[in-house]
């Protein structure tokens, strides 16, 4: 990654004075350019800056909800987005919002549900047209979920592919070879597909272009008397980890407040 940044910045610098033919030949010979760039302290960028640059250069799927747009710019297309957090942190809420945004943009979406925990009722309340969602229920079988994801990712044509591993234990997920994630990353690369992976802990790591940590929600109850109250809403917290962003909080409604 450190070499990628200086190469591009060096090429930008050379565009001013050099002819384009030489620039093309220089881009073919990457190693000398990178070394020359490393000698120039101005062109060296930090890892974070490179991540942000790369993230910004991608097409993104806007979530189209004002509260979420404040805390997240969107989900990158042609890359894996990893959403992780403990139970009741809002992973599924973010998933539903992403699915709704993709469907509203006219995309077809698929959800590979490893533990069969998807709730169509709250999904429709989030604004998802369920006819454009292919739901694959794997009944707790991780191997089936990975196989299904692989087939659907390679099938192509999806706007959003969500792989929900949120109820599987970290121990089970840690047995997955890292090569699976590389395979998924390569499959979605150069496609307009957003791949969303939900887990309790981050496992996609370097293969994810965007990693979002969700923190446990603060419930909001109606009424003042503890004996007569209902769950009204929850305040969810988003903290982008890769690239590191400011994040923020947003409120999710329940059936009482919706």
């Amino acid at each position: 990654l450190c070499l990628d940044g200086p190469i591009s910045s060096c090429e930008d610098g050379q565009r001013k004075g050099e002819n384009p033919i030489r620039r093309n030949s220089m881009s073919a010979l990457r190693q000398p350019v990178a070394l020359s760039a490393l000698r120039d302290p101005i062109s060296i960028k930090s890892l974070r800056e490179l991540q942000v640059e790369k993230h910004l250069s991608r097409d993104i799927l806007k979530l189209s909800v004002p509260e979420l747009d404040k805390v997240l710019e969107g989900l990158p297309k042609g890359a894996i987005t990893e959403v992780f957090g403990p139970p009741s942190s809002g992973k599924s809420t973010l998933l539903h919002a992403s699915l709704a945004a993709a469907v509203c943009a006219g995309e077809f979406c698929t959800l590979i549900d490893a533990n069969d925990t998807f709730d169509p009722v709250s999904a429709e309340a989030s604004g998802i047209d369920l006819t454009r969602l292919l739901w694959v229920r794997c009944g707790g079988n991780l191997e089936n979920a990975i196989r299904a994801a692989d087939m659907l990712v390679h099938g192509g044509g999806w706007g959003l592919i969500a792989l929900d591993l949120g109820d599987l234990t970290p121990v089970a997920l840690s047995r997955l070879p890292l090569s699976y994630w590389y395979r998924f990353r390569l499959a979605v690369q150069n496609t307009p597909t957003v791949m969303l992976v939900l887990e309790r802990e981050p496992f996609v790591r370097s293969c994810a272009a965007l990693a979002i940590e969700m923190r446990q929600a603060q419930p909001k109850w109606t009424g003042t008397h503890p004996r007569f109250q209902l769950l009204e809403a929850g305040t969810l917290e988003v903290a982008p980890k890769k690239p590191v962003g400011k994040g923020g909080r947003f409120e999710a409604k329940t059936r009482i407040s919706a």
Binding site: S64, S122, A125, G127, I128, T131, G157, P219, T222, T254
Partner: protein
């Protein structure tokens, strides 16, 4: 000139229709086939240079019909409507003049066509008569056209008798070379030659038929003698059209009706097949042939049926062999049907789907006969918007879904549809179809649930009417805050009523769950907010 073939057989099976189609397509590239009426119309212009006069063409058509093994009334007329009316009349009444209305039958002389009254019908042709007829037909080819015509007309009346007698003498019938009834109506002869036909041939509607009955109009000739303007004034557009048909006027050109041919391939095997792999080879060949035919016809298919006839002596399941008689009665055939959301004519797609289906549902015994049938439909024509996102390719997606269904289960893949009920979490799985339109809904942030399927049975401690402690499989904690109860019930008018009170509870570890209590069943954890 237009030629019309009308089948004389009462049964109009697919085989008979195919025969008249073959006969029509032998003489003309474009034919109008009316399967429901057993009728074929085709243009014979230009055949004069190849065959000869209209009469010779009629004989050639009759000869071809004989060769193909069917008997028909063949009428050549200047236009489509006259040919059709003539052929129908000839097929129904034996000759165009044999019809007599009830009121005139006893008094009036035979009409200008000089047909026989049914009461005077002669018995079957004697051998001598038949020989005479045969000779007359033989002589036709050596005579000039003018003389042949009269011979053919004379022959028609002989054949009429034969048709009326129901072709009782099979031996004599086989010895007759030309069996079909033929008639040539030259331009200008429409009124005179069709004049004796009853109006029933044109199938007028009930109101018109009654009116004409009151007027004493029974035949084409009687209607054609009326003034056109008067008919139009009194009977309207329908009456005028009937009048034009009775006058033998042409109303429309030949219409090549779209036929829906059934594409079927059948293979009878010398040795029963037990494995799916060789079966796939045969299916592949059959599907390729069917798809080639579909492509040739510009059609596609969205449904494939495979019927496998089984060898009852080669069953593999030993449990079934205990009662072989019952076994034989149960299944001699294995039937599978594949449906596609969009029409296709790719043999590889059908084959892959069939392979997946047969792997999931293999035939219980060795296969002796394979029949593949597809239902032809119009192919899918679609132009996507330039700025609309492209969805998954339907054909490819169908295979992917079939493959996924093979290992996750048939009911575990599709798009969910919420049911019209208040029962919590009621939905059904539908087949996922790539559609072009979608519902634009209001997008908002709704706190999602992760549902436990099935709900976790739980033990809940209550204090002062509120839950304080929960224990379930993989879940245990002290309740720090709770909201509820949220009472709901439904289906009390059915055999499966439900009644529950729900609580939202926050545990000490920060997680939020929805729990509920059902009468007589106890506590359950429905899911958690996430």
């Amino acid at each position: 000139m237009i030629a019309c073939l009308q089948l004389l057989e009462s049964s109009l099976g697919a085989e008979e229709i195919n025969r008249i189609r073959a006969c029509a397509e032998f003489f003309a590239p474009v034919a109008e086939i009316r399967s429901d009426e057993g009728l074929a119309l085709f243009d014979i212009r230009g055949l004069g240079k190849l065959i000869g006069s209209a009469e010779e063409i009629a004989l050639s058509i009759s000869s071809k019909a004989n060769e193909l093994g069917f008997v028909a009334a063949i009428v050549l007329a200047p236009n489509r409507e006259a040919a059709m009316a003539g052929a129908k009349g000839l097929a129904r009444y034996g000759s165009l003049g044999s019809f007599q209305p009830e009121s005139k039958r006893l008094t009036a002389p035979p009409t200008r066509w000089g047909g026989q009254d049914k009461s005077q019908e002669r018995p079957a042709l004697s051998a001598a008569e038949l020989q005479t007829t045969h000779q007359a037909v033989e002589n036709v080819s050596s005579k000039k056209p003018e003389t042949r015509r009269s011979d053919i007309q004379g022959l028609s009346s002989e054949r009429t008798r034969r048709a009326g007698q129901g072709r009782r003498d099979q031996t004599l019938q086989e010895s007759l070379r030309f069996e079909s009834l033929t008639m040539v109506i030259h331009p200008g002869e429409e009124r005179t030659k069709l004049g004796g036909l009853p109006l029933e041939v044109l199938s007028p509607d009930e109101r018109l038929r009654e009116t004409l009955e009151i007027w004493g109009i029974h035949t084409f000739g009687e209607l054609a003698e009326l003034p056109a303007q008067g008919v139009a004034e009194r009977l309207g557009e329908e009456g005028l059209q009937l009048y034009r048909l009775a006058c033998g006027m042409g109303l429309q050109p030949l219409v090549r009706l779209p036929e829906k041919p059934v594409f079927v391939e059948r293979v009878e095997l010398e040795h029963p097949l037990e494995l799916l792999e060789p079966l796939s080879f045969l299916l592949s060949r059959m599907l390729r042939e069917i798809c080639a035919k579909l492509e040739w016809h510009g059609l596609a298919a969205n449904e494939v049926e495979v019927q496998l006839e089984l060898d009852p002596d080669s069953r593999r399941d030993p449990a079934e062999l205990e009662n072989p008689e019952e076994l034989r009665a149960i299944a001699r055939e294995h039937f599978r049907r594949i449906r596609l959301p969009v029409p296709s004519r790719e043999a590889s797609l059908f084959l892959k789907l069939l392979q997946l289906d047969l792997n999931a549902h293999p035939p219980p015994a060795a296969v002796t006969v394979i029949t593949v049938k597809v239902e032809p439909v119009e192919p899918r024509r679609l132009q996507n918007g330039l700025f609309l996102p492209a969805g998954p390719e339907p054909q490819k997606l169908e295979i992917t879904i079939a493959r996924l269904a093979a290992f996750v289960g048939q009911g575990h893949i599709g798009s969910p549809e919420l049911l019209d009920t208040h029962r919590p979490g009621a939905f059904r799985m539908n087949r996922f179809v790539v559609t072009e339109s979608w519902k634009q809904k209001q997008v908002g942030i709704h706190w999602a649930m992760r549902v436990f399927r099935p709900p976790l049975p739980a033990t809940v401690e209550m204090r002062e009417g509120k839950p304080t402690m929960i224990r379930a499989k993989g879940l245990r904690g002290k309740v720090t805050a709770s909201g509820g109860p949220w009472r709901c019930s439904g289906d009390w008018w059915t055999a499966a009523p439900w009644n529950r009170e729900e609580w939202d509870v926050a545990l000490a570890d920060g997680t939020l769950y929805r729990i509920y209590r059902e009468k007589e069943k106890g506590w359950f954890v429905e899911g958690n907010y996430d």
